[in-house]
Symmetry: D3
Subunit: 298 residues, 6 copies
């Protein structure tokens, strides 16, 4: 007789069937950042999830930041960090290092995907004119080469997806003078998801999701229609870094993305579980007419 | 925290990754017959397995027989079965009923696949001139409209696969006078697998596989190179219905199929397990230069 | 000198030129039923007509019923026919036999087309999800698995036509529970003609056409604009089986079919003559702005 | 009842079926010359034949000469014809007139085809570099701009056929100095048929075909294998203009054309009859392994 | 050291870069007529310009007249020219000669392009049904076969451009009775430019451009917005042959052409210079919202 | 009158015609390194040359090194360079910096191309698995992560070229353990040129070319057949860095590249001049059967 554990394995695969079918050939933009970038095992897991999605018929695009690695290199070359309103000033030199570090991280991710037998191509927002931006001010003050996206030219992404490559993007673009700008990775993921008409956008970071009560770890909300998300902001329920994240979610959905997921990248395979089970891992934001379908929280 | 059982699920999916990748866009011909055709749950499982294979990027083709259903209908219309050398004589009337019953079974399978959201197209060996045959004699004796395949015209299959349909075939063809013939489903699956250059051919029937010692249920052989399969026949180790089956396996491999699987259709998801784990469920026959990779028997 | 009879032959071919040109690459749906299905010679003629249309550049689709053959088999298996309001009750068993018989007829037609050197593919309304239906009541009463078409998914037809196959369809579909239903062949032909934007729809049955005066065989009407057809119904001129037929014709034209023909399948090559001469064989129904062009009745 | 004459018409169309099928999508090169170019009715018939062939699925290419029209214009401009060895000397001026006249004839033929609703494109051997040639000497003597084909570049023809145009060619080409040359239309038709791998090449001229006995009008030969054609030449049976014609036929077949027809263009629709009946109109030359299939002479 | 003259050459090529880039894959219709057709060197220059445009990525189409060559041939065949209101009466015979002469000129141009290694295809307005016309009256009087374009069917042009041929067109078309008509080459170029949505239309003739003051050779106007062009006409500044030319320019721009150039064909490479420098050679007419960008007059 | 200088410009463009035509749609691999990378003006010139080549129909691929910029950054982060046999030891840290610096340079070049209106995509040898390598030893000694190319997978390059992107490559690849390796840019350019079947390979560096007499600046050799190049090496005429460069040239030609150019990147537009004139700028190495066509040295 075949052992039970093997039969159980088959069942898990069969359970994935409706999810694979539902999102077949759909684009999923994965914003990858936070601690999951530092831990080698978590990193390997995220990449495996993305590769699995690709192999079962999704079209994943990874957008990543550089996180703490940039700071480490700024120090390494002995540069003096400057801050305005608590925000890092990105002068020419910092910009140069940021681009170099992001490119390095990019090639690491490309290599991880390649090691799993799938062809990845790592590009920046400059390649193929993907991201065009202008200078972003912080409360009206110039904090250097920090860019705000003005235009996304997704042609290179469509070509790469069409030819079965997995695109991995780091968010550096240029302005009309062809100067380099660092772009917030969440913003880039959001703008790209909109431009390619993604079915899903998933933010993998150190946030577990949205809580009804910040102090009650049991109160994580599995699904939110956008008006509920807007209400959470206007009622002052959420704060800090969650506000721009939620605003990005709402913006993406208003521009045609079907479902946006805030996921804890520290949980192994959170991306896979969110997509392949009807249990919520983090918080999903959905269109007003989107159907809630999580049974319970995983 | 996410519960362990969900993390385990993710692991099962991730383990499938190398198998999905290895056979991506490859054609798998599934001969489906035996008891697995009678039990509704087993039937549903086989179809789910085939659909999952399709959704994760394989190109499955199902070839099926009609098994005991034909006999049931022959009786139902009050016909007198005749036998020669223990073989059923297929006269015009029996042929007509066989074709009708096989068509009925075919549409059931089509409907099952459709119910899982995948488009199936059921055809016979007559459609698109798929199977051309001549009369097959039994020890030189004419036993009626039993056909031997002379030519496979796989154009219709390539078109259906190309357009993302799952083809389901019942083995009735015509000869040069356009008379109808019933064809052995194993032979049809084998000839089709060769004609479409299938990567794999899987026989799902009531046979568990090949045993070293017929009396020792522990002696199931997981993998056989073709010379080993040939030796089992010439040494008289195997007998009965296993000989033509093994000969079909050897023939398929000699004509370019990479791996042929003899699987017990009575084990739920045996097809999926054979393909997605490195445990043998039944017996795999492989090319002389094919690598054995099963760790152990499931 | 070349004999006159050969020159005459050439003239006939040349006369066909404007008709071939006018309908080049246009889809023609042929509903094939009635006596023309029982007589082997008439059957051969209809198939030859369809094959000729295909070879000269039309794109024919054949939709057929099973006619009296279903009744014959219901009797053969010793079933007791039941009737309600004079209509046959299609229980599960009858449905099963109907599907089997229709499939058998389908493969006969496929074989006839193949024997003329053209590749045909026979499918049902289940294949590729072609015909989705609901239960049709008869005066509010449940008469079993008799289906009313709700949705046509013509993808499989477009692919087959594109790849130069001649599709032959028997009208069995499924409902949302994937139960099988028998569908009236006229209804199926009509729905399919609309879904594939056919240029023409031809009903080949035992009806000679529409008469001005039912008792005057000389009063056959060659061409009717739809308002004339509607008037014939509302004025009570036509009755019996002609009413649903005319309604189908009107419906098809209102949904974009250019010209619908009611033809007597018992006249050899009536289809060919109707299309390739400017003499009316039966009755053509045309759009309000369609030009009448028959010179006289053939 | 439908009148017998209409049923007869249908029969003629049905009889064409196997011929249409046999040559579907095959290229037929038609050399059009002789008296059939002067008589307006014959001209219209030839063009109708070619258009019918196109509409029923063949891919005809017409190659034409200018015949007596060139002589007429040479006289018209008051030029003095010069002859060497009985052959016209083609000096620059004559060449210029020949090209102009051929172009005029070409556009007449284009217009005739267009008037039948089919798109024709008329080109010379210069367009797309179709025909490259060198000077052809007559018994070692220079007779001016008479070209011998050295190279055929059929790209333009394949593109026009692919896009469903009917190409009409007049045989003027250039040499390596880009000087213009007049080319024998039979030679051009032959070289083009070889270059496009035509199925058939038909010479429409004032010759009825090949006779066993030149004096016996009943002795026309319907079909000749190439060795028979060669023997007719070597045995001195045929002579005069027939020798180069037969040599062209043999050459075409040796370079891959399947069947070459010598047809009398003065018989209306001789091309159509030769292709659509199993009666020989003129003489067909076939490959050594080609099957003779004419029943009798028409 | 590399000599200065070579560095200068490189600079010229580099200066062409923005112009090449701006018009990449855009269609340019070149009306070629006037003295530039008679002088062999000018002719070679115009053709070289067109070929260069093709090779650097433009899609040129040449439309040409026959100019004085037609008159020469009318005389040559001893015909008596007739005039009405100072316009040549184009009777059947004149039409025939015009077509022949235009075809001859056409093949000369084709040969010139071919000699530069680019494949050209020369067609008339009859080929592929390119130009359909009606009779054009002169002040209400019938002056024979002079055509007014009613319809342009640009399919043949799109196919030729798609397949990388350079189309060369002479303006002879047919009317609904398939009679031949001579069409003014300016009108043809204009209608074709509109039908293929050309980016540019350039008239190469013996006109230097539009002058502010006809008597001041320094007063050539480099660029005119269409309202300025209209004003020049309504104010009576321009006269004679310039009025229909300007009207054609205005018409083309109103139908979607971006920029129309009136160029002096007698200046070598005027076409190239107009396109590849920011100096005006002749006069450019532009859309109301088109930007003027010539620095000065060349 | 048009000024002479403008006519001269036109002439230069026309002179480029045969060169554009000869290499239309051909791939040119440009190895870009040396001083030309440091001087902003020279850099702009090289990029303009590459963009011009692209716009006139070539398919350029740029392969670049990082040159002195890597050393600058090694120092910047305070690392201690180590040397073995005079070669830099590339430990993990150095490798990391090299990759970052090369990526930075890569994006600068991408941005320069983008600023000229052409879409560039910058990738490393890791992307799409372009360059797979093993460790390269120096005289048998391990000098760290210096790679030797084992396999080139040019799929990503073909896709980018097909979609009209200009690929820019920096030579970092991975080995079978997916460790990063720095690869000599000359080697990478050579291997890529071979893999994509480039027509041309151009090395732009600080070398003027090959001299007959190292001490005589007038003795630069314009063209060398490969046997001459081999003889120069075997006779000891050339030495130092020229030997591996010449060996790369010979290797490329033996693997199918048609012509390899050694060019002085310090001469503005040397690439353009070498390709668009028949004057040699540097030294061209050609196949044994390649025709020498430089008139003289520029």
């Amino acid at each position: 007789m075949v052992k039970q554990k093997y039969l159980d394995k088959a069942e898990v695969l069969i359970e994935a069937l409706p999810y694979i079918q539902r999102f077949n050939r759909k684009i999923v933009v994965i914003k990858y950042g936070g601690s999951a970038m530092l831990d080698q095992e978590l990193k390997a897991n995220v990449i495996k999830d993305a590769v699995l999605l690709k192999l079962v018929g999704f079209k994943p695009i990874i957008v990543h930041g550089g996180g703490k690695e940039i700071s480490r290199w700024v120090n390494k070359v002995g540069m003096e960090p400057r801050f305005v309103n608590g925000l890092r000033v990105t002068d020419k030199d910092t910009m140069e290092i940021a681009e170099m570090v992001l490119a390095k991280v990019n090639k690491e991710l490309v290599t991880l995907v390649e090691s799993l037998g799938v062809d990845a191509v790592g590009i920046s927002g400059k390649d193929g004119g993907l991201l065009k931006c202008t200078k972003k001010l912080s409360n009206g003050e110039d904090i250097g080469y920090v860019g705000e996206i003005q235009e996304v030219n997704p042609r290179i992404l469509h070509e790469l997806l069409e030819q079965d490559f997995l695109p991995i993007i780091f968010p550096v673009g240029y302005d009309e003078n062809y100067d380099s700008y660092n772009i917030n990775a969440d913003d880039a993921a959001c703008a790209i998801a909109e431009a390619v008409h993604a079915e899903k956008l998933a933010f993998l970071s150190d946030i577990e999701g949205v809580y009804k009560d910040q102090n009650d770890p049991e109160s994580l909300i599995s699904e939110l229609h956008i008006h509920e998300a807007e209400k959470l902001i206007s009622d002052g329920y959420v704060g800090g870094g969650m506000i721009p994240k939620l605003k990005n979610c709402i913006d993406a959905i208003e521009h045609g993305v079907n479902r946006v997921h805030i996921l804890d990248g520290r949980i192994p395979h959170s991306l896979l579980l969110e997509i392949f089970t009807n249990k919520g891992i983090g918080t999903a934001i959905l269109r007003e007419d989107g159907e809630k379908y999580y049974d319970e929280h995983a």
